[in-house]
């Protein structure tokens, strides 16, 4: 079943445009999407999924699966970095281990979006409020990562860089992408509560345009991901293995939790994808500032160069069949 699912996934415009970007690098085309255009699409996607998630959260209310999903998601973003850290310490120092671990505890919004498109394509229903867990998994992972450094870093760390609580919380909640996602979620929620009429005026921008903009951004992500591969090679086989195996491990953990909190098929996939995906936005930005001892090429080349493509291409359909096996479908 998986091969056909993978094929179905690969033959959708977002994934095809991702491939187009990857191939552009491999065949050395000079196709490029100059800065700050990728930033435009990145900001747009965060704003749009935040806003839509907020409106759906309001519509569904805080009952049913919402609270369990959010609680479980936050828990996962605390636990996964710890597991990753232990594994990474086999090969890396505290700084690098903590930074990479935080990235894997956090999430990738674009992987999430692609999973939503996949579900749409398979006509499997899911709830818009799953954006809330998405928005809430960035900060805890960053906090765990910084705590690990604060507690376990060698004492000879230069004084100037002692991480203070204030700074940890600041980086965890207020870095640009986390802030925009949370803020748009709140605005969507508030608008749906007080001004439901205006929702349809936002719809062409946050809704209709979304799928195409996602394709455009994935074209760029393909280029960026493929350009990370050389530095991935330099990072060594341990990290390469980690970047593929860890998402699988996290996905298995995720599907078990999803079963435990009785998520439906669609929501379960999204939950698993949150666990299995790794951050290349909020976490690298936070780590660069607070743990400059960690090599940014490690956490960027793994998350962007390997885990992201893996999830986009193979991961999502794989996790889908995992969900189908573990969670009985009462469709």
């Amino acid at each position: 079943m998986e091969p056909s699912l993978i094929l179905q996934n690969v033959l959708t415009p977002p994934v095809l445009f991702f491939f187009l970007g990857v191939i552009a690098v491999f065949v050395r085309s000079d196709l490029e999407i100059p800065a700050p255009l990728p930033k435009l699409f990145s900001l747009y996607l965060l704003l749009a999924i935040g806003f839509r998630g907020g409106t759906e959260l309001q519509l569904s209310g805080l009952n049913g699966q919402v609270i369990p999903s959010i609680t479980a998601a936050i828990l996962m973003s605390l636990v996964i970095p710890l597991i990753c850290f232990i594994i990474l310490r086999i090969k890396f120092d505290v700084f690098n281990s903590a930074a990479i671990a935080a990235a894997y505890g956090s999430i990738s919004a674009v992987t999430f979006i692609t999973a939503e498109s996949f579900l749409d394509n398979q006509n499997i229903p899911f709830d818009g409020y799953m954006v809330a867990p998405l928005a809430l998994m960035e900060s805890p992972a960053i906090i765990v990562g910084l705590l690990l450094v604060k507690l376990l870093a060698p004492n000879n760390r230069p004084r100037a860089s002692k991480i203070k609580w204030r700074k940890i919380l600041h980086e965890a909640t207020l870095n640009g992408s986390a802030y925009l996602l949370m803020g748009s979620l709140l605005i969507g929620f508030l608008t749906a509560s007080t001004n439901p009429d205006t929702l349809q005026k936002m719809e062409p921008f946050t809704g209709k345009l979304f799928y195409g903009a996602e394709c455009f951004f994935l074209l760029d992500m393909g280029i960026v991901a493929a350009q990370r591969l050389p530095s991935l090679k330099r990072a060594g086989s341990f990290l390469i293995l980690f970047a593929i195996a860890m998402p699988l491990v996290n996905a298995i953990l995720g599907v078990l939790v999803a079963k435990a909190i009785q998520l439906d098929e669609g929501n379960a996939l999204l939950f698993v994808v949150l666990c299995a995906s790794a951050s290349y936005l909020a976490v690298p930005a936070a780590m660069r500032m607070t743990v400059p001892e960690a090599k940014s090429s490690y956490y960027i080349s793994t998350t962007l160069g390997l885990t992201f493509p893996f999830n986009i291409i193979f991961g999502i359909p794989l996790y889908m069949s995992l969900v189908n096996k573990v969670i009985p479908n009462f469709g």
Binding site: L281, S297, I300
Partner: protein, 93 residues
């Protein structure tokens, strides 16, 4: 008069500028979206959207005495976060 060229990660720009101000520089010029390669890292433009950003290139024209203060303030930042600093001679037009 001296010309100081500082090149370092964009994310440290605020800290650097604060440190320059603390050194009482008469002014400075900032170019962002700069890329490059140092002994260790390659910085490329395509990572801008990730929040890692590119490099910033800061130029300061100042007197020798100001340079001394800058040196004291900036060196720890550079050695911690990375980045380079070079000095050349200059004079007002």
């Amino acid at each position: 008069m001296k010309r100081l060229d500082l090149i370092f990660g964009e994310r440290e720009l605020d800290a650097m500028l604060k440190s320059l101000e603390a050194s009482n520089v008469p002014g400075y010029t900032v170019m962002k979206h700069v890329t490059g390669r140092g002994p260790e890292r390659v910085v490329s433009e395509d990572m801008e959207f990730t929040g890692l950003g590119a490099n910033a290139h800061v130029i300061v024209f100042c007197e020798e005495t100001v340079l001394e203060r800058i040196r004291a303030n900036i060196k720890p930042l550079l050695s911690y976060y990375g980045g380079v600093a070079y000095v050349s001679e200059a004079s007002c037009l």
